[in-house]
Amino acid sequence: MITAGVDIGSITAKAAVIVDGEVKGTRVDFTGYNAEQAGRRVLDELLKELGMDAQSIDRVVSTGYGRNSVKFADKAITEIICHGTGAHFLNPQVRSIIDVGGQDSKAMVVDSEGRVRDFAMNDKCAAGTGRFLEVMARALEVDLGDFGAKSLKSERPSKISSICTVFAESEVISLISKGEKRENIIAGIHDSVASRISALAKRIGVGEPLMMTGGVAKNMGVVKALENRLKMSIEVLESAQVNGAIGAAVMAARL
């Protein structure tokens, strides 16, 4: 059985191919304006990389905010279900998952079969999401990829008290003009993101073993800040960003 999962997020599109219960490959691309094209492209590129052709895929499940635009998918399933399924597939011990993507942060609790039992999702606000970090990276003129490493060097994290992304950005700008060290500001930003996410996670009572998925999980600064806030250890896999796509491919095998 060969299945594929396509996860169209607000910023990136992800694809995963599973052959007989084993992840064959994954790929990340930008979503851009056209979600359907992005889904097609990221899967085609992945198949090319794997030397496979589209005909060999038995079933496709799409997920992510653009899931309904992926017309070639056999079924669209929400990213909350797919992240739960993906995390459970990669580590069946996991009982809680925090997924932070470009525009959403979500927390979910799963049972021993990986079925979502409860979940919470951020409301119409970008605080505690990847987009928040992107805005701050731009203000600080630091590559977002360097955020994690830089923040871990901080000795005295700044305090960012605004929840609103726009106000937080002006807070960051005034910290810059005061000559505050970048590391400290970044660490403060991470703690601010972590405080939002931990509030969401506590609402549904997340517990260990806890896994973090989604693009923001690549940022070790946020992960550490979140571990401190929740007083729990967080598992982050290499595949964190493509976890939703993997979950979708797993769901496709069960259709």
């Binding site: 905010y65 399933i77 929400t78 990213e79 909350i80 279900i81 959403d104 079925r115 979502v116 039992r117 979940f119 999702m121 409301d123 119409k124």
Partner: protein
Amino acid sequence: MEVLNDFYRVAENPYEYSRELKKSGKRIIGYFCSYTPEEIISASGVHPIRLFGTGGDITLADSHLQPYCCSLVRGALEEALEGRLDFLDGTVFPHTCDSIQRLSDIWRLNTNFGFFADVVLPVKLNTESSREYFADILKKFRLDLERGLGVTITDDKLKTAITRYNNIRRSLKALYEMHSKEPGILSGRDLWAVTRASMIMERDDLLVKLSLLKEALKKGGRSGKSEGKKRLVLAGSVCDHPNVYTIIEDSGGVVVWDDLCTGSRYFEGTIEENGNPVESIAARYAERLVCPAKHLSNTARGDNIVRIVKKHDAGGVVFLLLKFCDPHDFDYPYMKEFLDRENIPSMLLEVEDSLPSEAQLKTRFETFIHML
């Protein structure tokens, strides 16, 4: 089902409808919340219409109310200050939540609709003295209306109004029951339009339309399919968002009953027709399904939501709470505990006058419905 169009026309354009009614010579009194003793207003010969928030932006009201007031209260004031309620001959405020009480003061000082009354209802409804007090307050309200509007409200007029409202409440409940049995006969949006219009439309005309609708439903209604749809209960304060029903239906669910101020809490409980009319009206309001701004017993609301879920064979509950609605927000953990104890899944959705983006809502509803 042509009769549905009449309900939609009123539900979607309440002000236009009210202005037409006004032209025909009717005086109109606006009210907030389902604790308003509409029967007494109706008996005075004045037409009661329920006021909701605004669908538009809130700008003028923010000079009077802080952002921690719910969008219903802020929106209603916005409508008044914008002059969109110019058809009103008066307003009635029943004593319920803090924000409505404060709105009452601000309203009295900043608007000029003629008649104005605060109906200072008791909060604890389970004591002997509260019953007496409740009846006294309604007697005073009757006098206030008589003096303020220059009318006489006889016992006979009250009895006619009681019968009218009993019929309305029974009809709405019957429609809900028909829909719960066969959700395909009406969409959730249809039922929303019917209940909303019921609080706006001229009530005798409403009764005619309700029975026409009942007939149409007996013939099969919309004859839509509802097999495989997950049966849900909607709980909260007011639902002024018909899209919620549509999005739930698109996500594979169907709302089969509710615990809403604009739903079952409005129509549950009839009035004794043979007793002292004012005391009988007071008894109905004291005994009806309680809202979290009132107290009936420690378990009344929790038991009720569980009973609704079981009676209507629902798989889960969607709490639709208005942001900054204190009574419901304080009540939510208590309600959830009752459901958790019975292993009934629930989800919480906080909304304001406008809904979050449809994509966000769909993700939540689809996930919840998938979980069931």
